[in-house]
Symmetry: C2
Subunit: 186 residues, 2 copies
DNA sequence: TTCATTTTTTATCATTTGTTAAATTTTTTC
DNA sequence: GAAAAAATTTAACAAATGATAAAAAATGAA
């Protein structure tokens, strides 16, 4: 998915502002398994996924996967981006990826210079917020089996592309529980 | 908490922009028990809490409380605000409240006219996003008892001001479970 | 205060999910 | 293609949480 399309998905910018943003973007590729972002470090870039699939996870006793990103989505260490503090998330590439890279520093400059880009940034955060809030609510009143069915309905491709251990973690259950749930659905 | 302080908490605006925002704000009060926002309706205002306490909940078999707002916080139907679509949340006043009201229509106009206000709106969404993401992650690897202790640590005043049924719902467990957890902590 | 109502706790049993270990299947590597 | 490694499933039992009902405590209204 090309950068112009990705930027439009978030918010339709006037041509001039869009070019400003695109001029600050460079392309970069990494292989499956690469750790793009490490926890407890300030990340100075954000990335848009041209091609591939990644996961965000935090490390506890085990790894807790809390987000998947695929073509068209944006990779951000929220803490770094928003508060300039080390983030809590690691980002691992689950497939070979082609990414667009944008320096946070340059983006912040554009936020202060261009009202359209500031509103683009606002829309981005707002849309992410709605997605996160809906997931939180879903967690609050659905059991594991219902959450799995919901994921199958909303993101069937994820279940094909991601190994079940990560899916189970994302759903907030153990892999063994997910396996049991799948067996019961047959 | 006065409106100037509340706006500053989100993002420090230049004086001129701040006055622009403040000029669009009016004061309003409602008694405990009042339903300020109803689900499935487009809400045309956002509110800042000057004084009091509210909760956001969705209706399922039971009510699921997913947010508490107190002095200095912002009441928004995210779906209405972001996508101009009916929201999923109800907002109930848990105490008598004094609120600042701001018409979404006017705010949108300011977002397009004033780069500082656009960035204020961006910061607001970004900060809410981090809080929501942290709660989601906490849900993913902490059990009910740990989540209760976390809430006691981070927001002890909530436990004093809110009845336990709502707290239990917010934590994603039944009131009976929360009561049991409290008994085990003694 | 006193009574009625609401909230919280306690108890019991059912269900869901976790833990551990082993078996099976799939994927990767040589 | 065979061996090794990784991922998934299955099984048995443990622990956490849910559901229901009843008792106790707290709150609110007359």
């Amino acid at each position: 998915m090309d950068i112009s399309k990705i930027l439009d998905l978030i918010y339709q910018l006037p041509e001039q502002s869009k070019l400003e943003l695109q001029n600050n973007v460079s392309e970069i590729a990494f292989p499956k398994g690469h750790i793009l972002l490490k926890a407890n470090k300030i990340e100075s870039n954000i990335y848009f996924i041209k091609k591939g699939l990644v996961r965000a996870f935090v490390e506890r006793d085990n790894e807790v996967t809390f987000w998947f990103g695929k073509e068209g989505e944006t990779i951000i260490s929220m803490k770094s981006y928003v508060e300039d503090e080390p983030g809590y998330e690691n980002i691992e590439l689950l497939e070979d990826c082609e990414l667009y890279e944008l320096k946070t520093k340059n983006l912040r400059k554009l936020f202060n210079e261009d009202v359209h880009i500031a509103n683009w940034g606002r829309k981005f955060a707002e849309k992410e917020l709605i997605k996160t809030e809906e997931r939180l609510i879903s967690r609050q009143f659905k059991n594991a089996s219902e959450r799995y069915l919901e994921l199958m309905k909303d993101h069937p491709e994820l279940i094909k592309r991601v190994q079940l251990g990560h899916i189970a973690s994302y759903l907030g259950i153990t892999q063994v529980s997910l396996s049991r749930i799948r067996a019961e659905l047959k």
